[in-house]
Subunit: 464 residues, 4 copies
């Protein structure tokens, strides 16, 4: 169920005449990673063209907009801005002019020392155009004494701490990099002579590109013309891949961190069925995000899989917001229960996660009204008890249902017969082995210390 | 797979202060029946307010637009216009001013004697504002000598021949009616003191209304204030419910013609598995329209159901149209194959129907490229060999794949291992019994003779 | 001073490949005759294309919109709708489909028997798409038994009574006609092989066409290909040209009713100076409408002409409407007084007319605040004491300042030293001789009886 | 005649609840100083709100946009961007975040050492968000060690060289300053407790504020709450007021550099008549910019003033651009000749200046076609022979008609009977005495050396 907000999808392409158009299609495939706004910067003969807009990819990139984005290199970004600070100015790619050249930057992740760096830069006289943490990177680059573009990127990234998968370009080279722990994904593809960098492989599939491999944690990849080379990390640290990419964020048809997502998600459902079986007549998913896990649960439990909830996908730019007198219709606008399937049945509902629990509470009510005699809730991940500081927009701790409620309290709040979560151990056993994961949202073990919970609020005091 | 174009979704509501807002939400639930444009007419104290626009329901009805649609009665319409004649002027509801009162009309279906009636009316001096067949109905009403609104509706409908589910209002009364054969659906719901008429029950679910019953073929239902009464048909004829509503058009969570859609569709898949078993490793659907049938097939055949195709739902008003140099991406923009699921597997693909076959051909290519070793195509309906004249926008006969190709030729064209259709007999056995169906698209048995294939072309010669 | 609202500007062109584009430019030149919305209908091979929109001509006709308006015949219209009933549906040209052909109609004027005709037509079963009086004309044409398009126009116009300059086309022919009294203007021009019909000659100037002549009262002009011919009026009645075209409506650079406007307006100012001299230091105009009259006054009185008021012309589609707390800025947004010119001076202000007097009251206040020691108001037309029923949107009688106040009361209300109007006799002496004028707004002598003051209200009860 | 492009109009207001709304109205009065785009930044409790958009003031500031601009301090800007680099990103006010506070800057003028400063700043690691010269000012401020806002402004302005009238705010204080030579205007007004800074006094008139005085060259004015104080210039240099403000740029109803514009412009016309009399029948202006000068010429020469050209003011956001086949209509769209006034007459045309001469050439043709037997052209300023580097967007030298042609060659090019310019000596005699003027565009005497003609091109190489 979509309830967390992934910060971004990033794309870069070099070595083709239709760079911006291919980036727009790749961003369309990555729409699930950010739906508030989108931007593309392209370069032709060193001249930079930019188009950014609020809304869905299919609304932002009109034929006219794409016609203005000439060039053989392009960088793109989908943004999931938090409510309130969503404005055209905070859309990426960030553009900076410095020493006769222009830079474009797309960033997925969160820098935990951004405020400290920003304060230091401002003390030295730097001025900022946005309230985004990513902007410190281009400032660092502008101060670098290195000559080569990739060396300036490396020097700047050497100073930032946190989670990042970044794509940058100066119009000559396209550079992609992941932070040393590799929190967020970034993969490499090829289409003829062109190379593509993208958050997930589904973006490569749409444009017909071949998947080559994941950028390694700490690695920096440089693309120029039809050539590509790698600058390996100076020192290796234990990787901390975000395990939620497998649980929920990525599309099931993507390869992420080197592994296909759907089979992982299927195994989570199977393991969940083993760990927490249920006595029921049918298994349903909350479409579309928990479809794979629910199928896995049904398969292992031998309980039939049914379509008990229908999702309405026709959401335009300005989603219908019922006026106050028709409040409480919000969940109904998105989901409808299939009475004939549910009526008189004991139902296992498999979902991938619960954040606040408000949507799930309404769904349960809808299922019961449609006739479900029992609802057994099975979650294919452990209880979320800690906020994420590495690029996922989670609520504060006291808004997280599992941080403030016991399992029994959750059961009573949601009004279900029972609710069970996949254990952390089972999760790690079912996920691809040998990668190294960040599971801070489940266990609070933050591999990088954070400055404080208020960083973001401070940065956003003066939105442009 | 969405390849046919259903003409319309219709809604009407009377007896509530927020009539237009509820209609907009109901139209949102009926978005699958028409995505080119939408319109609402509301009445307050006899004064008529209208808002229509091209695009999705969520784009057309802004807060501002709804704020202007006061009143306790409202009529709405979603349109799936054919390419070329899609213009703001041809959006419904149709509005007509006559003898001091205004009428609004929403029509789903197709009148086969519209051109003849129009010619006759024009000979008498009538002028038309649109090229829509539905406009003759309001002309008939204006010429009626009856006093009561419902009697004028009845007299007008007595002259038209064809398929229609219509909703009309003069600001005082809301009238709903189906043609004597009942080709197209129309159901009745209640929400407090208000009554709702809608093409499918999923529209009632969204606004929290209770489903009462289907309007009968030939019946005319009148709603005034909180009262509702029925004018039964004068003479009964054999009903001819459109069987394609069960195969593909309606949402699976709807009740249509008095029966829930999902179980019917499930039975079609089961029967298909019995009639045309396959030796394969897995069953996949073409999401979302064949999900139910594919589940039925998997269940009966004991072959596991898997998610082998992912559909991208983020389609805005102006869908990205790849420029000529990126042609052939159109199917990829909508679907992606899950390699890890398909690689090396013998796959049964269950789809509900094949019209031209062009999309299916590309999908098969995509599945094979993703590694499927065999593709066994199973269609949960008989071959479509005849065009529809009763409200579905089918291509002409020679564009229908099954009208011009044998099964073996279809197999070779689609490049699949085998292709099998559900037989007409099995279809009629699996569908709800005792209703009476139109199966003209399969067998060419047209219960109402048509004027000729060119009616539509003639009407659209002078689009406004 | 702009305070009356002229109903419309009309244009038609036939015989050129860029008909719609030329019509758009002609409508731009006629923008002063209607600023609420604009529309163009073009015909190519009998197929009709339409584009209409609210706002200024330069906003409505984008390159895209014009690109869709192919054809060699086009008809256009600028509308000045009254507040409240301004909606996209009431924009002209009106389009009607009848007996296999489509008709477009642009109308400037007002039909006094429209309601009576409409009632009669509705009794016979006609339905109306708009609340505009002009729609009865196309209904009459649809009922005509004549074959030739121009004969159907003539038959229809033979039934309507009132003021009209109309342009119609069926895609083959372009027809222009004026009512028998010739209230509103309409002239003929030629550009190469093409012919143009337009409200004023300034529209011909912009597109580089030559002015041929005015359409005669009661005459009907037919244009087909490069040919043009005339159908003279059956019987002649005394012409009643609207004298306000010379006083205020038309652009000074136009030829209207066969005479150039600027010299007439200049003579009104000269005659006013003779009839009502003033002892003052300078003469100023209320730009731009009274510039010519003020120059005439200055010339004859030997008092220097100065620019004492500056008008801000940068008005976009949505004019800035000060919020309540900044009310009273409305006149300041449009005009500013030039202090250095006015300070300590006795000023003659020449304006063309006074309707309600509210704007003039604020202007006088502005002039006095800028230092004018005396304000002598001179109006280059007689007091308006009666509403117009022939196409000008005047307020009801009790809102007309001069209908309810004596000259002395007007002087006191406006807080000026003195106010004098040109007499009716002087007006008729200064205007072109031998034409025959309607002066009903000054003397109440209505040459055509009207049905009552409420016609319009009744028609607009059910706006679409 | 509008042919030069003034760079900007600037406004600031502090000390009122409706700061942004008043700024929007003031910008409306200053629309003639920039029509490509407009922006407002307001501050409330230190939080900054911004709205900018391309187009006219009346299009940019919708009610919604203004509703979002709360606060008691606001800064605004109208921009006349040069073709090609007109983009939403280059609109002012510029916003910068630095050390926990935000700054807004509006700039009218041109900094001649901007590129040098920018290079130096970029060497130190600064990054730029725009290609506007003004952005160096906020970088200088961010590097200042001063604490008070006005001291940081002063330190930054101490480093820049060139022409500037700037308005800045940090949300607490509003600061206005002019460069030491005072090239561009900036005046102070009061409205109740609030103070206003604006390019011209006509902005004060519209909002009902009282004109206090001009900001002195080199002076810095600080406004906080209802207080206002001055920081005088450290050292005085000879002032160089742009004399073109009197000739053409400013509105005639404005007080600029302490003197009313209209009387100056009138004297230019009178002096021109003395210096270059003409034997003619009438004098006409090119409306509206040369109206005052033409009246002065007519008065002194005793030749009657007539309205021989009508200007169409209804220009929307996207001005109608005739397609290639209708080229050469551009001047006709803006002006029309009044045949009846001109026919057979010897005409004196008074205009304020000639830049390239292309528009004037077409106007002369239009006048001759309308029947003018002779055209005597009189220009109320000397020949423009040198580009402006201090804030006016002039073409390069070889595009300036008078830089490459003798008077006789100009006469032949424009096809007039004779053409005469006001001499530099007469201009300086007729303009207000004791001010000190920049006349570099006439005599090439640049009081500040410029870096080279290509500064602008370099800055704009990488437009965002």
């Amino acid at each position: 169920m979509r309830h967390w907000k992934e910060e971004c999808g990033v794309v870069g392409i070099a070595g083709t005449d239709c760079a911006a158009e291919l980036v727009s299609l790749a961003l369309y495939a990555l729409q699930h990673r950010g739906q508030e706004g989108s931007g593309i910067v392209s370069f032709e003969d060193g001249a930079l063209k930019a188009h950014r807009g609020l809304g869905l990819v299919s609304d932002v990139y009109t034929a006219d907009a794409l016609a203005g984005l000439d060039g053989t290199i392009a960088v793109g970004h989908n943004r999931y801005s938090t409510t309130g600070s969503c404005s055209a100015e905070n859309l990426q790619p960030i553009v900076a002019h410095s020493r006769g050249s222009a830079i474009a930057l797309s960033h997925n992740g969160n820098l935990v020392n951004a405020l400290e760096l920003r304060n230091s830069l401002e003390d030295q006289g730097a001025i900022f155009q946005t309230t985004m943490d990513s902007e410190v990177i281009v400032h660092m680059m502008a101060r670098s004494r290195q000559h080569a573009f990739e060396d300036r990127v490396r020097e700047a990234l050497g100073r930032v701490v946190g989670a990042y998968s970044v794509i940058l370009s100066d119009g000559q080279k396209l550079v992609g990099a992941r932070d040393p722990r590799g929190f967020r994904p970034l993969c490499i593809g090829r289409l003829g002579d062109a190379h593509i960098l993208a958050s997930e492989s589904c973006a490569l599939d749409l444009i017909g590109a071949d998947y080559l491999r994941e950028v390694e944690p700490g690695e920096l990849v440089v693309i120029e013309g039809s050539r590509i080379w790698s600058i390996p990390p100076v020192e290796k640290v234990d990787p901390k891949h975000c395990i939620f990419e497998y649980i929920y964020f990525s599309r099931p048809d993507s390869v992420v961190f080197g592994h296909a997502v759907d089979p992982v998600r299927r195994r989570l459902g199977q393991t969940l069925a083993e760990e927490h079986p249920a006595d029921a007549d049918l298994v349903i998913a909350v479409p579309d995000s928990s479809n794979s896990a629910a199928l896995g649960f049904a398969e292992r439990s031998k309980i039939p899989f049914e379509i008990g909830l229908i999702r309405n996908h026709y959401v335009g730019r300005t989603f219908i917001q019922p006026t106050p007198r028709l409040r409480d219709l919000r969940v109904k606008i998105k989901y409808n229960a299939v009475k004939d399937v549910l009526n008189g049945k004991r139902v296992v509902v498999v979902d991938d996660s619960i954040v606040r629990g408000t949507t799930m509470k309404k769904l349960v009510k809808m299922l019961k009204k449609a006739g479900a005699s029992e609802v057994h809730l099975r979650i294919s991940s452990p209880p979320i008890q800690h906020p994420c500081y590495y690029g996922i927009d989670t609520p504060t701790r006291n808004e997280l249902l599992a941080a403030t409620h016991t399992i029994e309290e959750i059961r009573r709040y949601l009004e279900v017969e029972d609710v069970e979560y996949l254990s952390r151990e089972s999760l790690l056993r079912a996920a691809p082995q040998g990668l190294g994961y960040c599971t801070a949202c489940f266990d609070g073990e933050y591999s990088i210390p954070v400055e404080g919970e208020h960083t973001k609020e401070i940065l956003e005091r003066n939105p442009v």
